[in-house]
Symmetry: C2
Subunit: 299 residues, 2 copies
């Protein structure tokens, strides 16, 4: 059992150095929700309608601001207001994937000014550590958080094996101030418990979920692994398994939270595509994911 998965969200909130991670964990505990809704719709009205319907059920609203045809900073302000009123965090799923100089501008500038309203965003580790340096120069002073994409949910993606291992290492090398976790399908951060002997040797060899195999002694990460606390947010979730025609693959809340030890399920079409019943369906997801978490704590 991964040490992080047997702690309550409340316990984890108390110890986290990043304000956004702390707030997310507090909200999860307070609302008994480890459900994020992904609002992949293309107008301000649709986004706000869905958020108003399901905002009380979720810990996090995930946006794609660049698909919204009438996006304005006033809309962003309204979303921030709702996030305070309905108690959720805003996660712009930008998947930054460029060199440091460019992502710095993409995060802070342009029509969207993502850093001015999104509590959390994410980036691919692909361009190397410069992407984290660039984004943190903008986001860390604002108390924002960053997730690295260590795995993806889509068919035949390349974020596997050594790639995933390097994503985790890059997060560790960056420290805990800005990189607060991963987008992943599994508990990619040291899946095995740290034995005393391993600790003395400074070596941790991950196993159990197939992907992570981490040398805890490497390159700037030499710390106390019990202090580590990465949030794992997992996309590709529906109440029944399946996929779409463009390679998306779905798992259930129980698989994600109980079997794989992840922290938050991200549900998109499973909620927003069920027109008129969004709140009802969101409650089903919230309940399923929360029960899986409670069951995990009892193990």
């Amino acid at each position: 059992m991964h040490p992080t998965t047997i702690k309550t969200y409340a316990e984890r909130a108390k110890l986290h150095p990043n304000p956004t991670a702390r707030r997310l964990l507090e909200i999860m505990e307070r609302k008994k929700s480890n459900l994020a809704v992904s609002v992949d719709v293309t107008t301000v009205k649709e986004v706000l309608d869905i958020v108003r319907s399901v905002g009380t059920k979720v810990c996090c609203v995930k946006t794609h601001c660049d698909i919204i045809q009438d996006f304005t900073l006033d809309f962003a302000k309204e979303l921030v207001r709702l996030s305070q009123q309905m108690d959720f965090i805003i996660f712009e799923d930008r998947k930054f994937a460029d060199i440091g100089n460019t992502v710095t501008l993409q995060y802070s500038a342009g029509l969207h000014r993502i850093s001015s309203w999104a509590d959390l965003t994410n980036a691919h580790p692909l361009p190397g550590p410069g992407i984290i340096s660039g984004l943190s120069s903008v986001g860390q002073p604002l108390g924002r958080g960053l997730l690295l994409l260590a795995e993806m949910s889509s068919k035949d993606n390349l974020a596997t094996g050594q790639y995933t291992t390097e994503a985790v290492q890059m997060a560790r090398q960056a420290g805990r101030g800005f990189v607060v976790g991963f987008i992943a399908m599994n508990r990619v951060d040291i899946p095995s418990p740290v034995s005393k002997i391993q600790k003395v040797n400074g070596m941790v060899n991950g196993h159990g979920h197939g992907n992570a195999s981490v040398n805890g002694n490497g390159n700037g990460y030499g710390g106390d692994k019990e202090m580590e606390d990465y949030l794992i947010l997992t996309p590709g979730v529906q109440l029944s398994k399946g996929g779409d025609t463009l390679g998306q693959q779905y798992r259930t809340p129980h698989q994600v939270i109980f079997d794989s030890g992840c922290d938050v399920i991200i549900v998109g079409r499973g909620i927003y595509a069920v027109k008129g019943k969004e709140a009802e369906v969101a409650e089903e997801y919230r309940k399923a994911a929360w029960e899986a978490y409670e069951r995990r704590l009892r193990c």
Copy 2:
């Protein structure tokens, strides 16, 4: 010597099935320019000023529309008008990196409507082939082209080795209608000539530039490799070697075009940061890259 690198751009233009690739190769020949300028500036006025200064020297203008604070579709229209008047193609360096369903919307919708004005865009192969299916469903009917990022220029990036090999395979599996080439540092598409014996066996083992090792017989690609023609566009170019503080690394035009056999150099800060002398400096880059190409043809 890679077979593509000993053909003229004019010869290659005649045979290419994709209209954007064909137009780019024709422009390169007509203007004697294998120089793309990257306009990484944050206002419409700055972008247009740079384009008006250097537009006649370049075959391609590379944009980051999401860093422009006053972007409008009218600006995009003006850019398209200039691209016709000054004879260059527009390449939006979006680095799509999401699942098929999402990139379809990011490419066609939102405030930027990239597919409506950008001749060329690019994507990371990381999410798997669904990203190509999604983008091509929008772009191919419009005659647009897509580059896959097979390598990156930034320090300690993860687009190396097997990742690069899989990027090239993914392009081959997608066919030649929409994926027209790569962002790469090297000639990643089969660096070695295809011998008759290899052709009989259906096997091509790449070597020479360290990254590509491609099984030409695999999964949907069984064709005549002499017909293959991928454009390789290469970022991270300055007249002198060096880097920035966020991990960018620079090579010279000669290294990129002559030594590595790439097709187009992409120059950003090397041109637009030399205020007031953009046209003069662009001409230096154009000349250096074109001479490297002519020298390559004589080998």
